[in-house]
Subunit: 205 residues, 2 copies
DNA sequence: ACAACAAGTGAAGCACCGTTCAGACCTTCA
DNA sequence: TGAAGGTCTGAACGGTGCTTCACTTGTTGT
């Protein structure tokens, strides 16, 4: 034998892979899935096209990885806030919607890509899966709210799906135009108020 | 001169065009935009590929026509119900959501294509435009509701966008699986209840 | 130093699909 | 009926972009 991967090489490979995913995420956030060609991504990552295929078997696999990482972060943050954000379920829902909307508006390009932009089938399937996860975390806090008598009886899954869709829809239009600080300031509280009504929380006094 | 289009020929051409649009709509409802190739559509319409290009300058133009017709019907029906459905704004909103959801579930494939399925850019742009129209009709009935004192103060545009997104999201998952009569029966009233809460209508007694 | 093998390269290959066009086939009217 | 001009056809074309692969460069252990 005359060659074995040393840890140093393995680290370098892992780092290259990370850089590739990061660059691909940036490209997608910038130009959307449709225009994120393998050539463009490779260039952004500072490697050749061929090298991309040493890290991922296909473009679709890379796209799925990009989507999973970015969406995973979001659903995790949202889940944490909704579960352990402090206060009663209604307060946590308030905080969750606020955080989610803020994060989306801070990274508009990526949010748009994750929520709405046309994507290849593999990513579309992944999107459905993550919507299910968003629904699950919303549904849980709603269940707690009804159990605590803070929210009226309802099908938590339906309300959760509605929240997912409503927040996405409200954000998509603002997301597709350049930043409008003033409008955003107005949007978040309005979005929170709508979400609370949607879940049936008693109007703030 | 030796040839002039007779009315009969014009009718035949118009009919062929209609058949093409109808066939394309069916194909899209069946397999989605991504798999609706010109070849497949032409075959479904019983004509050759070349003939398609005598009716539309490009595939995109045909797709836009298909989308516009189908979505146009829906937004028109919804608008009529919300404007002239009878009763106060809250009753009209109730009826509107019911009608919209029922229609979507009766024609799942098409609804999914119109609301959610990945589509080429031209259709995507059209979709944004129609969402704006959905929002406008919802916003109007909400404005009337707040003016009549039936709904609390709110940004009607935000609530309208939320309703559009929420209903779409709630329907999409049921839409992507085969019919489940029982679940559907449960879904529509739940959707209506959620929509009324979302707009802030006083809970039914 | 050198053999052995892995990683990296990027131009060529290839598949897919929208679009075209030269010719076949109709319809009209003198 | 025949000339003029329209409609229809579908194989061939061409652009796009993913994927491959023969080759170069880099790394390891003897």
């Amino acid at each position: 034998m005359a060659y074995r991967k040393t840890p140093a090489v393995q680290d370098r490979l892992a780092a290259a892979r990370e850089q590739l995913v990061a660059a691909a995420t940036a490209v997608v956030a910038e130009v959307g899935w449709a225009n994120a060609s393998v050539t463009a991504v490779a260039a952004a990552a500072g490697m050749s096209v061929g090298t991309v295929y040493q890290h991922f078997p296909s473009k679709g696999a890379l796209a799925v990885e990009v989507f999973r990482r970015a969406s995973g972060r979001e659903v995790e943050v949202l889940g944490e806030v909704l579960r352990d954000g402090g206060g009663d379920p209604v307060q946590r829902l308030t905080l969750g919607v606020t955080v989610f909307a803020r994060r989306a508006m801070e990274n508009r390009g990526l949010a748009h890509a994750l929520l709405a932009a046309p994507a290849e089938p593999a990513v579309g399937a992944e999107r459905l899966e993550f919507r299910r996860r968003y629904r699950a975390v919303f549904a849980e806090v709603i269940r707690e709210g009804t159990a605590a008598g803070l929210l009226p009886a309802q099908d938590p899954e339906v309300t959760a799906a509605a929240l997912t869709g409503a927040i996405g829809e409200v954000l998509v239009d603002p997301l597709s135009v350049p930043a409008e600080g003033a409008a955003a300031e107005h949007l978040v509280p309005e979005l929170v108020a709508m979400s609370l009504r949607c879940a049936g929380a008693a109007p703030a006094v």
